[in-house]
Symmetry: C2
Subunit: 242 residues, 2 copies
DNA sequence: CGATTACTTGAGGCCTGTCAATGATGGTGG
DNA sequence: CCACCATCATTGACAGGCCTCAAGTAATCG
């Protein structure tokens, strides 16, 4: 069973900007199908070009760069509504990989159609550029966190951001949210060792601030978490959906 | 004396993609003037919107985020050919500041004209998106460096990247390049303390790999520097100029 | 010539990485 | 059904890379 854009469940969320009728009609043509990705699958590979672009419909994944010595830097986490493959679309190849952490359902687009988007639907092109700018903003914030904060603040920031982003796509129920990543993923995102990440999570748990276990995230004290996280106040405005 | 786009000295460099006649004609209209910024001037401020966008014509600057506790993360360094204000253009406000390190000459554009760029010149819109994607690629690489590498590799990476980028805009003469930043700027970019940055630079100098003093960068052994830097081999392809 | 800024160098300590071992869980094959 | 293996989370011990503090030099400026 495939979803069409006119009744896309994501588009109705408050987190995303509105789309006009003609825009929706165009997206119906732009979208070529859907893809189911199993956990552990590599959706896009670093150093390769791709004929397809995606939007995450359901499920979660992560973006990461692999260094030649085997180390790994997690660049970000893919949640529903996220666009995948902008780099492959406008550059020759991807500079990071994207992997499915859970089973994921993805809307698929043809890279070759991207040019018609720019030439015939400037509002959609503008939205795509805004998405790129949002990525840039996030990476700048992540760089500041990894570069300047200590371990407790790093982990707090990550959990705070997970919770906020999951909440924006309606994936928080009764204060709980599914967080299907491994501690190693978080460690690789924050530039910490697995061991130290584990101990920092244990401390947040003991201090009754936040608990993340069995793939489930629970915030016990959002006030203290926000303070520890040095979280920027702005409650992330609406963003475009492709 | 003001430069017009048709004889823009940057456009002729190998580093930048070609521009068609109609594109150049449009840029002439799009460009509203030039601005001279003195060293230390804040060109764009974090948290503020701006009516103007810029392209760096000459001189150098830096982008940085300020944390509430006063710490600072340098997000990147602005060299000739770099576009400034993409975030201000397509989002409500900037999430980082831009400051002039030397005297800078900037091409100025009106933010309100940006929409006509998207609606009437899709090739230019595409280029703008590519620039955003390039920024994203750079920030991803910076995140991996700051998150995963040790101090020696971080500093080596930075010097290697400085040299490569300066070379691409023809600012290297006889193996020397002007690098008008302070050690504190580099430290804040790499997430290192000033003291440790200084000692790491001293070590690279003693080992006859690279010397950076008196605002002048000299590479003595590019082979070893490249190895230390874990530098990605791809010799940065052509990029668009706005 | 005092004040400011930037670079340099040394000493000491802590935050975080590495190493190592254990437990828990789940999948697999005999 | 159980031994076996792989993955992930957890905990302790220890070392080291990097930070902080501090002091000194040099250059620039009003």
């Amino acid at each position: 069973m495939s979803t069409n854009c006119s009744n896309c469940p994501l588009r109705k969320l408050d987190a995303f900007t509105d789309m006009s009728g003609p825009e929706i009609a165009f997206m119906e043509k732009f979208k070529t199908g859907e893809l189911e990705a199993q956990p552990g699958t590599e959706i896009m590979a670093q150093g390769q070009s791709s004929t397809h672009l995606f939007t995450c419909l359901t499920g979660m994944g992560l973006r990461y760069k692999t260094l030649e010595d085997g180390r790994r830097q997690v660049i970000g986490f893919v949640l529903p509504g996220d666009f995948i493959g902008l780099q492959a679309g406008v550059m020759s190849e991807m500079e990071h990989s994207v992997e499915a952490s859970t089973s994921m359902r993805l809307c698929t687009f043809n890279r070759s159609d991207l040019w018609t988007l720019f030439s015939s639907h400037p509002t959609r092109a503008y939205d795509l550029t805004r998405i790129a700018a949002l990525e840039e903003i996030f990476l700048g914030e992540a760089l500041a966190v990894v570069g300047q904060l200590d371990a407790l603040a790093k982990v707090s920031w990550a959990l705070h951001r997970f919770y906020t982003r999951l909440d924006s796509v309606n994936m928080v129920r009764d204060g709980h949210a599914r967080l299907p990543y491994r501690q190693q993923d978080l460690a690789d995102a924050l530039g910490l060792s697995l061991v130290h990440t584990n101990k920092t999570l244990a401390r947040l748990r003991e201090d009754q601030i936040a608990t993340w276990s069995d793939e489930k995230l629970t915030i016990h004290d959002m006030t203290r978490l926000t303070r520890l996280a040095h979280a920027e106040s702005d409650g992330y405005a609406k963003r475009p959906l492709i």
